[in-house]
Amino acid sequence: MSGKIIEGRRQFLHKTGLGVALTGLTSSFSLPVVASSEQLELTDSLPEWMKVAGGEFKNYGQPSPHEQRVIRWISANSAAPGNGVSWTPLHDLQGTITPNGLHYERHHNGVPQIDPEQHLLLIDGLVKQALSFDIKSLLRYPMESRTCFIECGGNSNSGWRSNPTQTQAGYAHGLVSNAEWTGIPVKLLLQEAGIEPTAKWVIAEGADGAALNISIPLEKLLDDALLALYQNGERLRPENGYPLRLVLPGWEGILNVKWLRQLRLTDAPVMSRDETSQYTELQTDGKARQFTFMMEAKSLITSPSLGMMLPDNPGIYQISGLAWSGRGKITRVEISADGGDSWVDAKLQAPILAKAFTRFNLPWHWQGDYAILQSRATDETGYVQPTRETLIENRGKHGFFHYNAIVSWEITEEGDINHVYGF
Protein backbone atom coordinates (compact mmCIF):
# COMPACT_ATOMS: atom_id res chain seq x y z
CA MET A 1 0.00 0.00 0.00
CA SER A 2 1.57 3.22 -1.15
CA GLY A 3 0.66 5.90 1.30
CA LYS A 4 -1.74 5.51 4.16
CA ILE A 5 -5.36 6.41 3.77
CA ILE A 6 -6.54 8.04 6.95
CA GLU A 7 -9.80 6.89 8.43
CA GLY A 8 -11.95 8.03 11.35
CA ARG A 9 -11.33 10.36 14.29
CA ARG A 10 -10.91 13.51 12.17
CA GLN A 11 -14.24 14.91 13.31
CA PHE A 12 -13.12 14.56 16.94
CA LEU A 13 -9.78 16.21 16.24
CA HIS A 14 -11.51 19.09 14.52
CA LYS A 15 -13.79 19.72 17.50
CA THR A 16 -10.90 19.69 19.95
CA GLY A 17 -9.08 22.23 17.77
CA LEU A 18 -12.10 24.50 17.72
CA GLY A 19 -12.28 24.50 21.53
CA VAL A 20 -8.70 25.70 21.79
CA ALA A 21 -9.34 28.43 19.25
CA LEU A 22 -12.33 29.75 21.20
CA THR A 23 -10.30 29.93 24.40
CA GLY A 24 -7.67 31.94 22.58
CA LEU A 25 -10.29 34.31 21.18
CA THR A 26 -11.73 35.05 24.63
CA SER A 27 -8.34 36.04 25.98
CA SER A 28 -7.67 38.35 23.00
CA PHE A 29 -10.63 40.55 24.02
CA SER A 30 -8.79 41.50 27.19
CA LEU A 31 -5.84 43.02 25.28
CA PRO A 32 -5.40 46.79 25.82
CA VAL A 33 -6.64 49.20 23.13
CA VAL A 34 -3.88 50.00 20.60
CA ALA A 35 -2.28 53.38 21.22
CA SER A 36 -2.76 56.04 18.50
CA SER A 37 1.01 56.29 17.92
CA GLU A 38 0.88 52.75 16.56
CA GLN A 39 -1.87 53.62 14.06
CA LEU A 40 0.51 54.38 11.18
CA GLU A 41 2.39 51.14 11.57
CA LEU A 42 -0.87 49.20 11.57
CA THR A 43 -2.04 50.98 8.43
CA ASP A 44 1.17 50.10 6.65
CA SER A 45 0.85 46.48 7.51
CA LEU A 46 -2.73 46.12 6.24
CA PRO A 47 -3.41 45.07 2.62
CA GLU A 48 -4.34 47.83 0.16
CA TRP A 49 -7.92 46.63 -0.30
CA MET A 50 -8.65 47.23 3.37
CA LYS A 51 -7.76 50.92 3.09
CA VAL A 52 -9.92 52.05 0.18
CA ALA A 53 -13.61 51.90 -0.65
CA GLY A 54 -14.41 48.74 -2.57
CA GLY A 55 -15.73 48.36 -6.11
CA GLU A 56 -19.19 49.30 -7.28
CA PHE A 57 -22.23 47.04 -7.38
CA LYS A 58 -22.69 44.94 -10.49
CA ASN A 59 -25.98 44.01 -12.09
CA TYR A 60 -24.64 40.57 -12.83
CA GLY A 61 -21.66 39.24 -10.91
CA GLN A 62 -18.58 37.67 -12.42
CA PRO A 63 -15.86 35.46 -10.93
CA SER A 64 -12.76 37.10 -9.45
CA PRO A 65 -10.23 38.16 -12.09
CA HIS A 66 -7.82 35.88 -10.25
CA GLU A 67 -9.95 32.91 -11.32
CA GLN A 68 -9.93 33.68 -15.03
CA ARG A 69 -8.08 30.47 -15.83
CA VAL A 70 -11.11 28.45 -14.63
CA ILE A 71 -12.76 28.04 -18.00
CA ARG A 72 -14.49 25.59 -20.27
CA TRP A 73 -12.04 24.08 -22.73
CA ILE A 74 -13.37 24.42 -26.27
CA SER A 75 -12.72 21.89 -29.00
CA ALA A 76 -14.59 22.74 -32.18
CA ASN A 77 -14.29 22.07 -35.89
CA SER A 78 -12.24 24.95 -37.31
CA ALA A 79 -14.25 24.83 -40.54
CA ALA A 80 -17.52 24.91 -38.57
CA PRO A 81 -16.81 26.57 -35.23
CA GLY A 82 -20.34 25.91 -33.91
CA ASN A 83 -19.83 22.17 -34.22
CA GLY A 84 -17.91 20.86 -31.24
CA VAL A 85 -17.77 20.63 -27.48
CA SER A 86 -16.60 22.51 -24.43
CA TRP A 87 -15.52 20.67 -21.29
CA THR A 88 -16.36 21.64 -17.70
CA PRO A 89 -13.14 22.20 -15.67
CA LEU A 90 -14.08 19.57 -13.06
CA HIS A 91 -10.52 19.66 -11.67
CA ASP A 92 -10.95 23.35 -10.69
CA LEU A 93 -14.37 23.02 -9.04
CA GLN A 94 -15.61 21.80 -5.67
CA GLY A 95 -18.99 20.75 -4.30
CA THR A 96 -21.44 19.28 -6.77
CA ILE A 97 -23.20 22.13 -8.63
CA THR A 98 -21.70 23.26 -11.94
CA PRO A 99 -21.85 27.06 -12.36
CA ASN A 100 -24.01 27.97 -15.35
CA GLY A 101 -21.16 29.61 -17.25
CA LEU A 102 -19.11 26.42 -16.92
CA HIS A 103 -21.73 23.82 -17.84
CA TYR A 104 -20.40 21.60 -20.62
CA GLU A 105 -21.61 22.13 -24.17
CA ARG A 106 -22.11 19.95 -27.21
CA HIS A 107 -23.52 21.84 -30.14
CA HIS A 108 -24.10 20.37 -33.56
CA ASN A 109 -24.34 23.73 -35.29
CA GLY A 110 -23.79 26.52 -32.80
CA VAL A 111 -25.94 28.32 -30.25
CA PRO A 112 -29.13 29.74 -31.77
CA GLN A 113 -30.23 33.21 -30.68
CA ILE A 114 -33.90 32.52 -30.02
CA ASP A 115 -36.47 35.22 -29.42
CA PRO A 116 -38.68 33.74 -26.68
CA GLU A 117 -41.63 35.78 -27.93
CA GLN A 118 -41.56 33.87 -31.21
CA HIS A 119 -40.67 30.43 -29.88
CA LEU A 120 -43.36 27.72 -29.87
CA LEU A 121 -43.50 24.21 -28.53
CA LEU A 122 -45.71 21.90 -30.58
CA ILE A 123 -46.96 18.62 -29.14
CA ASP A 124 -48.50 16.50 -31.89
CA GLY A 125 -48.57 13.09 -33.54
CA LEU A 126 -50.37 10.32 -31.64
CA VAL A 127 -52.30 12.65 -29.35
CA LYS A 128 -56.01 13.37 -29.07
CA GLN A 129 -55.43 17.03 -29.80
CA ALA A 130 -52.25 18.66 -31.18
CA LEU A 131 -51.34 21.62 -28.97
CA SER A 132 -48.94 24.54 -29.18
CA PHE A 133 -47.54 26.43 -26.23
CA ASP A 134 -45.74 29.76 -26.13
CA ILE A 135 -43.15 30.47 -23.46
CA LYS A 136 -45.36 32.92 -21.57
CA SER A 137 -47.97 30.18 -21.13
CA LEU A 138 -45.39 27.60 -20.10
CA LEU A 139 -44.14 29.91 -17.35
CA ARG A 140 -47.60 29.67 -15.75
CA TYR A 141 -47.50 25.89 -15.30
CA PRO A 142 -46.61 24.24 -12.00
CA MET A 143 -42.90 23.51 -11.87
CA GLU A 144 -40.58 21.10 -10.14
CA SER A 145 -36.82 21.08 -9.66
CA ARG A 146 -34.46 18.19 -10.25
CA THR A 147 -30.80 18.29 -9.42
CA CYS A 148 -29.14 15.95 -11.86
CA PHE A 149 -26.12 15.46 -14.04
CA ILE A 150 -26.24 15.63 -17.82
CA GLU A 151 -23.45 13.69 -19.52
CA CYS A 152 -22.60 13.56 -23.20
CA GLY A 153 -22.54 10.01 -24.57
CA GLY A 154 -19.09 10.84 -25.93
CA ASN A 155 -17.65 11.92 -22.58
CA SER A 156 -14.23 10.41 -21.71
CA ASN A 157 -13.94 8.93 -25.19
CA SER A 158 -10.18 9.52 -25.23
CA GLY A 159 -10.15 6.50 -22.89
CA TRP A 160 -10.67 4.24 -25.90
CA ARG A 161 -7.34 5.35 -27.37
CA SER A 162 -4.35 3.03 -27.13
CA ASN A 163 -2.27 5.50 -25.13
CA PRO A 164 -3.48 7.48 -22.12
CA THR A 165 -3.98 11.14 -22.98
CA GLN A 166 -2.22 13.56 -20.65
CA THR A 167 -5.15 15.92 -20.23
CA GLN A 168 -6.49 17.55 -17.07
CA ALA A 169 -9.37 15.66 -15.45
CA GLY A 170 -12.13 18.02 -16.58
CA TYR A 171 -10.79 18.39 -20.09
CA ALA A 172 -10.93 14.63 -20.62
CA HIS A 173 -14.01 13.76 -18.52
CA GLY A 174 -15.88 17.05 -18.21
CA LEU A 175 -18.55 16.51 -20.85
CA VAL A 176 -20.70 16.07 -17.75
CA SER A 177 -22.09 18.75 -15.46
CA ASN A 178 -24.57 18.89 -12.62
CA ALA A 179 -27.26 21.52 -12.12
CA GLU A 180 -30.61 22.17 -10.53
CA TRP A 181 -33.08 22.24 -13.40
CA THR A 182 -36.55 23.68 -12.89
CA GLY A 183 -39.46 23.29 -15.21
CA ILE A 184 -42.68 21.50 -16.03
CA PRO A 185 -43.00 17.73 -15.75
CA VAL A 186 -43.33 16.68 -19.41
CA LYS A 187 -46.21 14.37 -18.54
CA LEU A 188 -48.44 17.33 -17.61
CA LEU A 189 -48.35 18.68 -21.15
CA LEU A 190 -48.53 15.25 -22.79
CA GLN A 191 -51.62 14.48 -20.71
CA GLU A 192 -53.14 17.83 -21.69
CA ALA A 193 -52.76 16.84 -25.34
CA GLY A 194 -54.08 13.34 -24.56
CA ILE A 195 -51.84 10.37 -25.28
CA GLU A 196 -53.13 7.81 -27.81
CA PRO A 197 -52.62 4.19 -26.67
CA THR A 198 -50.50 3.40 -29.75
CA ALA A 199 -47.88 6.03 -28.84
CA LYS A 200 -44.58 4.47 -27.77
CA TRP A 201 -41.90 6.98 -28.81
CA VAL A 202 -41.55 10.75 -28.91
CA ILE A 203 -39.46 12.54 -31.51
CA ALA A 204 -37.97 15.64 -29.92
CA GLU A 205 -36.70 18.41 -32.19
CA GLY A 206 -34.60 21.49 -31.42
CA ALA A 207 -34.78 24.93 -33.02
CA ASP A 208 -31.05 25.20 -33.72
CA GLY A 209 -29.21 25.29 -37.01
CA ALA A 210 -29.07 21.50 -36.99
CA ALA A 211 -32.77 21.12 -36.11
CA LEU A 212 -31.52 18.20 -34.03
CA ASN A 213 -34.09 15.40 -33.85
CA ILE A 214 -34.01 12.26 -31.76
CA SER A 215 -36.40 9.56 -30.54
CA ILE A 216 -37.12 9.11 -26.85
CA PRO A 217 -39.23 6.35 -25.28
CA LEU A 218 -42.56 7.82 -24.14
CA GLU A 219 -42.11 5.89 -20.89
CA LYS A 220 -39.17 8.10 -19.87
CA LEU A 221 -41.05 11.31 -20.62
CA LEU A 222 -43.90 10.11 -18.41
CA ASP A 223 -41.48 9.23 -15.64
CA ASP A 224 -39.07 11.93 -14.45
CA ALA A 225 -38.50 14.15 -17.50
CA LEU A 226 -38.71 17.93 -17.26
CA LEU A 227 -39.34 20.71 -19.72
CA ALA A 228 -36.71 22.90 -18.15
CA LEU A 229 -36.93 26.69 -18.21
CA TYR A 230 -34.50 27.41 -15.37
CA GLN A 231 -30.95 26.29 -14.61
CA ASN A 232 -29.57 26.82 -11.10
CA GLY A 233 -32.33 29.31 -10.41
CA GLU A 234 -31.98 31.54 -13.47
CA ARG A 235 -33.47 31.14 -16.92
CA LEU A 236 -31.55 28.72 -19.12
CA ARG A 237 -28.36 29.99 -20.69
CA PRO A 238 -28.54 30.20 -24.51
CA GLU A 239 -25.90 27.47 -24.76
CA ASN A 240 -28.00 25.25 -22.53
CA GLY A 241 -31.20 25.50 -24.47
CA TYR A 242 -32.82 28.90 -23.87
CA PRO A 243 -35.74 29.25 -23.71
CA LEU A 244 -36.71 25.58 -23.30
CA ARG A 245 -34.97 22.23 -23.11
CA LEU A 246 -35.65 18.64 -22.17
CA VAL A 247 -33.99 17.24 -19.08
CA LEU A 248 -34.00 13.45 -18.83
CA PRO A 249 -32.24 12.62 -15.57
CA GLY A 250 -29.62 9.90 -15.96
CA TRP A 251 -29.97 9.51 -19.72
CA GLU A 252 -27.45 10.32 -22.44
CA GLY A 253 -26.91 14.05 -23.07
CA ILE A 254 -28.06 14.04 -26.71
CA LEU A 255 -31.59 13.14 -25.58
CA ASN A 256 -31.82 16.26 -23.37
CA VAL A 257 -32.78 18.26 -26.45
CA LYS A 258 -31.99 21.97 -26.21
CA TRP A 259 -34.03 24.78 -27.80
CA LEU A 260 -36.97 22.34 -27.85
CA ARG A 261 -39.62 23.13 -30.48
CA GLN A 262 -41.52 19.89 -30.96
CA LEU A 263 -42.52 16.64 -29.28
CA ARG A 264 -44.14 14.29 -31.80
CA LEU A 265 -45.63 11.11 -30.41
CA THR A 266 -45.14 8.08 -32.68
CA ASP A 267 -45.30 4.31 -32.60
CA ALA A 268 -41.65 3.85 -33.70
CA PRO A 269 -38.34 5.71 -33.56
CA VAL A 270 -37.56 8.05 -36.47
CA MET A 271 -34.05 6.58 -36.99
CA SER A 272 -32.44 9.98 -37.21
CA ARG A 273 -28.75 10.52 -37.87
CA ASP A 274 -28.04 10.99 -34.16
CA GLU A 275 -29.59 7.67 -33.13
CA THR A 276 -28.12 5.58 -35.97
CA SER A 277 -24.82 6.85 -37.36
CA GLN A 278 -23.91 8.61 -34.09
CA TYR A 279 -24.45 7.72 -30.42
CA THR A 280 -24.38 4.01 -31.29
CA GLU A 281 -21.51 1.82 -30.15
CA LEU A 282 -19.70 -0.33 -32.64
CA GLN A 283 -18.50 -3.61 -31.16
CA THR A 284 -15.72 -5.98 -32.21
CA ASP A 285 -18.05 -8.17 -34.30
CA GLY A 286 -19.13 -5.18 -36.39
CA LYS A 287 -22.58 -4.94 -34.79
CA ALA A 288 -23.50 -1.75 -33.01
CA ARG A 289 -25.43 -1.18 -29.80
CA GLN A 290 -28.35 1.20 -30.41
CA PHE A 291 -30.63 3.06 -27.96
CA THR A 292 -28.10 2.87 -25.13
CA PHE A 293 -29.72 5.64 -23.16
CA MET A 294 -28.55 4.93 -19.62
CA MET A 295 -25.37 6.59 -18.37
CA GLU A 296 -23.81 3.93 -16.15
CA ALA A 297 -22.02 4.60 -12.85
CA LYS A 298 -18.74 6.44 -13.07
CA SER A 299 -16.34 8.28 -10.79
CA LEU A 300 -13.29 10.45 -11.12
CA ILE A 301 -10.72 11.82 -8.67
CA THR A 302 -10.63 15.55 -9.42
CA SER A 303 -7.95 16.33 -6.82
CA PRO A 304 -5.17 15.45 -6.82
CA SER A 305 -5.23 14.95 -10.57
CA LEU A 306 -3.14 15.54 -13.65
CA GLY A 307 -1.75 19.07 -13.90
CA MET A 308 -1.41 19.41 -10.11
CA MET A 309 1.67 18.73 -7.95
CA LEU A 310 2.01 17.29 -4.48
CA PRO A 311 4.17 19.95 -2.82
CA ASP A 312 4.95 18.24 0.50
CA ASN A 313 6.75 14.92 0.65
CA PRO A 314 5.56 13.34 2.86
CA GLY A 315 2.29 15.20 3.24
CA ILE A 316 -1.41 14.88 3.88
CA TYR A 317 -3.69 15.45 0.87
CA GLN A 318 -7.46 15.53 0.60
CA ILE A 319 -8.49 13.12 -2.14
CA SER A 320 -11.70 14.52 -3.61
CA GLY A 321 -13.81 13.61 -6.58
CA LEU A 322 -17.19 13.07 -8.16
CA ALA A 323 -19.33 10.00 -8.69
CA TRP A 324 -22.62 9.64 -10.53
CA SER A 325 -24.96 7.04 -11.98
CA GLY A 326 -27.90 7.29 -14.36
CA ARG A 327 -29.57 4.42 -12.53
CA GLY A 328 -29.94 6.18 -9.19
CA LYS A 329 -27.95 6.96 -6.08
CA ILE A 330 -24.27 6.37 -5.53
CA THR A 331 -23.93 4.05 -2.55
CA ARG A 332 -20.18 3.64 -2.35
CA VAL A 333 -16.95 5.09 -3.67
CA GLU A 334 -13.72 3.26 -2.94
CA ILE A 335 -10.25 4.70 -3.27
CA SER A 336 -7.08 2.81 -4.04
CA ALA A 337 -3.57 4.23 -3.78
CA ASP A 338 -1.88 1.08 -5.07
CA GLY A 339 -3.43 0.58 -8.47
CA GLY A 340 -6.39 -1.42 -7.27
CA ASP A 341 -4.73 -3.98 -4.98
CA SER A 342 -6.46 -2.58 -1.92
CA TRP A 343 -9.43 -0.27 -1.48
CA VAL A 344 -10.77 2.01 1.25
CA ASP A 345 -14.22 3.59 1.35
CA ALA A 346 -14.32 7.33 0.77
CA LYS A 347 -16.73 9.54 2.69
CA LEU A 348 -19.75 10.50 0.59
CA GLN A 349 -20.79 14.11 1.07
CA ALA A 350 -24.49 14.79 1.71
CA PRO A 351 -26.86 15.20 0.02
CA ILE A 352 -26.60 12.01 -2.02
CA LEU A 353 -29.16 12.49 -4.76
CA ALA A 354 -30.24 9.99 -7.41
CA LYS A 355 -28.83 10.65 -10.89
CA ALA A 356 -26.75 13.55 -9.58
CA PHE A 357 -23.13 14.26 -8.75
CA THR A 358 -22.04 12.89 -5.39
CA ARG A 359 -18.88 14.40 -3.94
CA PHE A 360 -16.51 12.00 -2.21
CA ASN A 361 -13.56 12.82 0.03
CA LEU A 362 -10.78 10.96 1.79
CA PRO A 363 -7.67 12.27 3.51
CA TRP A 364 -4.51 10.58 2.23
CA HIS A 365 -1.16 10.47 3.98
CA TRP A 366 1.35 10.31 1.13
CA GLN A 367 4.65 8.95 2.28
CA GLY A 368 6.49 9.99 -0.82
CA ASP A 369 6.59 6.75 -2.74
CA TYR A 370 5.18 5.83 -6.15
CA ALA A 371 1.38 5.51 -6.09
CA ILE A 372 -1.55 4.89 -8.43
CA LEU A 373 -4.70 6.69 -7.27
CA GLN A 374 -8.06 5.34 -8.43
CA SER A 375 -11.72 5.70 -7.50
CA ARG A 376 -14.42 3.08 -8.06
CA ALA A 377 -18.14 3.86 -7.81
CA THR A 378 -21.02 1.55 -6.94
CA ASP A 379 -24.65 2.57 -7.40
CA GLU A 380 -27.84 1.49 -5.65
CA THR A 381 -28.49 -1.24 -8.22
CA GLY A 382 -25.19 -2.85 -7.26
CA TYR A 383 -23.50 -1.89 -10.54
CA VAL A 384 -19.76 -1.40 -10.01
CA GLN A 385 -17.70 0.89 -12.24
CA PRO A 386 -15.50 -1.35 -14.43
CA THR A 387 -11.78 -1.27 -15.03
CA ARG A 388 -10.66 -0.20 -18.50
CA GLU A 389 -9.65 -3.78 -19.25
CA THR A 390 -13.10 -5.11 -18.36
CA LEU A 391 -14.85 -2.40 -20.37
CA ILE A 392 -12.76 -3.15 -23.47
CA GLU A 393 -13.21 -6.89 -22.97
CA ASN A 394 -16.98 -6.41 -23.00
CA ARG A 395 -17.35 -3.67 -25.59
CA GLY A 396 -14.22 -3.71 -27.76
CA LYS A 397 -12.15 -0.63 -28.59
CA HIS A 398 -14.37 1.06 -31.17
CA GLY A 399 -17.48 1.88 -29.13
CA PHE A 400 -16.48 5.55 -28.86
CA PHE A 401 -19.50 6.35 -26.66
CA HIS A 402 -20.29 5.38 -23.04
CA TYR A 403 -16.75 5.11 -21.69
CA ASN A 404 -17.08 4.82 -17.89
CA ALA A 405 -13.95 2.97 -16.79
CA ILE A 406 -11.91 3.63 -13.65
CA VAL A 407 -9.36 6.44 -14.16
CA SER A 408 -5.82 5.94 -12.84
CA TRP A 409 -3.56 8.81 -11.75
CA GLU A 410 0.10 7.92 -11.30
CA ILE A 411 1.88 9.82 -8.52
CA THR A 412 5.63 9.87 -9.07
CA GLU A 413 8.14 10.08 -6.24
CA GLU A 414 8.66 13.72 -7.25
CA GLY A 415 4.95 14.45 -6.73
CA ASP A 416 4.10 14.74 -10.44
CA ILE A 417 0.80 13.29 -11.65
CA ASN A 418 0.28 11.37 -14.90
CA HIS A 419 -2.62 9.53 -16.50
CA VAL A 420 -1.84 5.82 -16.85
CA TYR A 421 -3.52 2.61 -18.07
CA GLY A 422 -3.11 -0.97 -16.98
CA PHE A 423 -4.42 -0.90 -13.43
Partner: protein, 178 residues
Amino acid sequence: MFMVSKLLISFWLITILSASYAEDTFQHLGKTAKQLSKTPQWNLSISPTGEALPKGQGNAIQGAKIFANQCAGCHGPQGIGASAEPLIGEVGSLASEYPEKTVNSYWPYATSLFDYIRRAMPIDAPFSLSANEVYSLCAYILSSDGTINESLELNEETLPQVKMPNRDGFITIYPDHH
Protein backbone atom coordinates in the same frame (compact mmCIF):
# COMPACT_ATOMS: atom_id res chain seq x y z
CA MET B 1 -83.83 26.07 9.76
CA PHE B 2 -81.25 28.82 9.85
CA MET B 3 -78.67 26.40 11.24
CA VAL B 4 -79.40 23.86 8.56
CA SER B 5 -78.90 26.31 5.70
CA LYS B 6 -75.74 27.65 7.30
CA LEU B 7 -74.39 24.14 7.54
CA LEU B 8 -75.34 23.47 3.95
CA ILE B 9 -73.54 26.59 2.76
CA SER B 10 -70.43 25.58 4.69
CA PHE B 11 -70.61 22.13 3.14
CA TRP B 12 -70.93 23.57 -0.35
CA LEU B 13 -68.01 25.93 0.21
CA ILE B 14 -65.78 23.12 1.42
CA THR B 15 -66.79 21.00 -1.54
CA ILE B 16 -66.07 23.79 -4.03
CA LEU B 17 -62.77 24.76 -2.43
CA SER B 18 -61.47 21.24 -2.04
CA ALA B 19 -62.43 20.41 -5.61
CA SER B 20 -60.69 23.48 -6.95
CA TYR B 21 -57.54 22.74 -4.99
CA ALA B 22 -57.46 19.01 -5.53
CA GLU B 23 -58.16 18.83 -9.25
CA ASP B 24 -57.60 22.01 -11.24
CA THR B 25 -54.27 23.09 -9.86
CA PHE B 26 -53.31 24.63 -13.15
CA GLN B 27 -54.93 26.03 -16.25
CA HIS B 28 -54.60 24.20 -19.56
CA LEU B 29 -52.98 26.78 -21.82
CA GLY B 30 -52.18 24.71 -24.92
CA LYS B 31 -53.66 26.09 -28.12
CA THR B 32 -55.24 23.78 -30.67
CA ALA B 33 -52.65 23.18 -33.35
CA LYS B 34 -54.27 20.70 -35.71
CA GLN B 35 -53.58 22.82 -38.81
CA LEU B 36 -50.10 23.87 -37.68
CA SER B 37 -49.21 20.22 -37.17
CA LYS B 38 -49.85 19.55 -40.87
CA THR B 39 -47.59 22.30 -42.22
CA PRO B 40 -44.21 21.35 -43.76
CA GLN B 41 -42.15 23.29 -41.20
CA TRP B 42 -43.51 21.06 -38.44
CA ASN B 43 -43.00 17.83 -40.42
CA LEU B 44 -39.24 17.72 -40.80
CA SER B 45 -38.68 14.25 -39.38
CA ILE B 46 -38.59 11.46 -41.94
CA SER B 47 -38.91 7.95 -40.63
CA PRO B 48 -37.94 4.76 -42.53
CA THR B 49 -41.46 4.54 -43.99
CA GLY B 50 -40.76 7.82 -45.80
CA GLU B 51 -44.22 9.27 -45.10
CA ALA B 52 -43.06 12.86 -44.68
CA LEU B 53 -40.75 12.89 -47.70
CA PRO B 54 -41.45 15.87 -49.95
CA LYS B 55 -42.22 15.42 -53.62
CA GLY B 56 -39.19 15.67 -55.87
CA GLN B 57 -36.49 13.65 -57.56
CA GLY B 58 -32.81 13.52 -58.34
CA ASN B 59 -30.06 11.25 -59.61
CA ALA B 60 -26.34 10.68 -59.03
CA ILE B 61 -25.15 12.71 -62.03
CA GLN B 62 -26.99 15.79 -60.78
CA GLY B 63 -25.87 14.99 -57.27
CA ALA B 64 -22.17 14.87 -58.17
CA LYS B 65 -22.30 18.49 -59.34
CA ILE B 66 -24.12 19.68 -56.22
CA PHE B 67 -21.71 17.70 -54.05
CA ALA B 68 -18.72 19.41 -55.66
CA ASN B 69 -20.23 22.84 -54.99
CA GLN B 70 -21.88 22.37 -51.62
CA CYS B 71 -20.21 19.48 -49.78
CA ALA B 72 -16.69 18.75 -51.05
CA GLY B 73 -15.19 21.69 -49.14
CA CYS B 74 -15.65 19.88 -45.83
CA HIS B 75 -16.24 16.24 -46.81
CA GLY B 76 -13.47 16.10 -49.45
CA PRO B 77 -13.86 15.94 -53.25
CA GLN B 78 -14.52 12.18 -53.17
CA GLY B 79 -16.58 12.33 -49.98
CA ILE B 80 -13.93 10.38 -48.07
CA GLY B 81 -13.62 13.05 -45.39
CA ALA B 82 -11.68 16.24 -44.72
CA SER B 83 -12.64 18.62 -41.90
CA ALA B 84 -15.96 16.76 -41.81
CA GLU B 85 -16.74 13.07 -41.63
CA PRO B 86 -16.19 10.60 -44.46
CA LEU B 87 -19.43 9.74 -46.24
CA ILE B 88 -18.29 7.29 -48.87
CA GLY B 89 -16.22 4.09 -48.93
CA GLU B 90 -15.10 1.50 -46.35
CA VAL B 91 -18.15 -0.72 -46.82
CA GLY B 92 -17.48 -3.99 -44.97
CA SER B 93 -14.91 -2.44 -42.62
CA LEU B 94 -16.99 -2.51 -39.43
CA ALA B 95 -15.58 -5.75 -37.97
CA SER B 96 -11.99 -4.92 -38.96
CA GLU B 97 -9.20 -3.47 -36.85
CA TYR B 98 -9.84 -0.04 -38.41
CA PRO B 99 -13.59 0.32 -38.89
CA GLU B 100 -14.87 3.40 -40.69
CA LYS B 101 -18.45 4.54 -40.21
CA THR B 102 -19.53 6.06 -43.52
CA VAL B 103 -23.07 6.43 -44.89
CA ASN B 104 -22.72 3.30 -46.99
CA SER B 105 -20.77 1.25 -44.46
CA TYR B 106 -22.82 2.12 -41.37
CA TRP B 107 -26.10 4.01 -41.80
CA PRO B 108 -29.07 1.60 -41.56
CA TYR B 109 -31.65 3.72 -43.43
CA ALA B 110 -31.46 5.91 -46.55
CA THR B 111 -34.35 8.04 -45.25
CA SER B 112 -32.08 9.28 -42.42
CA LEU B 113 -29.73 10.67 -45.06
CA PHE B 114 -32.44 12.81 -46.65
CA ASP B 115 -33.70 13.88 -43.22
CA TYR B 116 -30.24 14.91 -42.05
CA ILE B 117 -29.00 16.66 -45.19
CA ARG B 118 -32.16 18.74 -45.38
CA ARG B 119 -32.17 19.83 -41.73
CA ALA B 120 -28.47 20.31 -41.14
CA MET B 121 -26.50 20.67 -44.37
CA PRO B 122 -24.66 22.56 -45.66
CA ILE B 123 -23.66 23.49 -42.14
CA ASP B 124 -23.46 27.24 -42.90
CA ALA B 125 -26.85 27.27 -44.66
CA PRO B 126 -29.25 24.59 -43.40
CA PHE B 127 -32.59 24.34 -45.26
CA SER B 128 -31.06 26.09 -48.28
CA LEU B 129 -31.22 23.04 -50.57
CA SER B 130 -34.33 22.17 -52.59
CA ALA B 131 -35.97 18.75 -52.30
CA ASN B 132 -34.60 17.86 -55.76
CA GLU B 133 -31.09 18.80 -54.67
CA VAL B 134 -31.35 16.66 -51.54
CA TYR B 135 -32.63 13.66 -53.55
CA SER B 136 -29.74 14.18 -55.97
CA LEU B 137 -27.16 14.29 -53.18
CA CYS B 138 -28.60 11.12 -51.62
CA ALA B 139 -28.36 9.43 -55.04
CA TYR B 140 -24.74 10.52 -55.50
CA ILE B 141 -23.62 9.35 -52.04
CA LEU B 142 -25.53 6.06 -52.18
CA SER B 143 -24.44 5.18 -55.71
CA SER B 144 -20.76 5.93 -55.00
CA ASP B 145 -20.45 2.59 -53.20
CA GLY B 146 -22.98 0.77 -55.31
CA THR B 147 -25.72 0.87 -52.67
CA ILE B 148 -28.01 1.99 -55.51
CA ASN B 149 -27.64 1.90 -59.27
CA GLU B 150 -26.10 5.07 -60.70
CA SER B 151 -29.08 5.60 -62.97
CA LEU B 152 -31.74 5.30 -60.27
CA GLU B 153 -33.97 8.35 -59.83
CA LEU B 154 -34.52 8.85 -56.13
CA ASN B 155 -37.87 10.27 -55.11
CA GLU B 156 -40.40 9.94 -52.30
CA GLU B 157 -41.31 6.44 -53.56
CA THR B 158 -37.87 4.96 -54.31
CA LEU B 159 -35.81 6.39 -51.42
CA PRO B 160 -37.55 4.41 -48.63
CA GLN B 161 -37.06 1.22 -50.68
CA VAL B 162 -33.26 1.51 -50.67
CA LYS B 163 -31.71 -1.35 -48.67
CA MET B 164 -28.63 -0.11 -46.87
CA PRO B 165 -25.68 -2.56 -46.56
CA ASN B 166 -25.67 -2.29 -42.75
CA ARG B 167 -29.45 -2.42 -42.32
CA ASP B 168 -29.20 -5.34 -39.88
CA GLY B 169 -26.09 -4.16 -38.09
CA PHE B 170 -27.74 -2.81 -34.94
CA ILE B 171 -28.66 -4.42 -31.63
CA THR B 172 -31.47 -2.66 -29.78
CA ILE B 173 -30.49 -2.16 -26.14
CA TYR B 174 -33.61 -0.34 -24.95
CA PRO B 175 -35.75 -1.66 -23.39
CA ASP B 176 -34.65 -5.31 -23.23
CA HIS B 177 -31.07 -4.80 -22.09
CA HIS B 178 -31.40 -1.39 -20.55
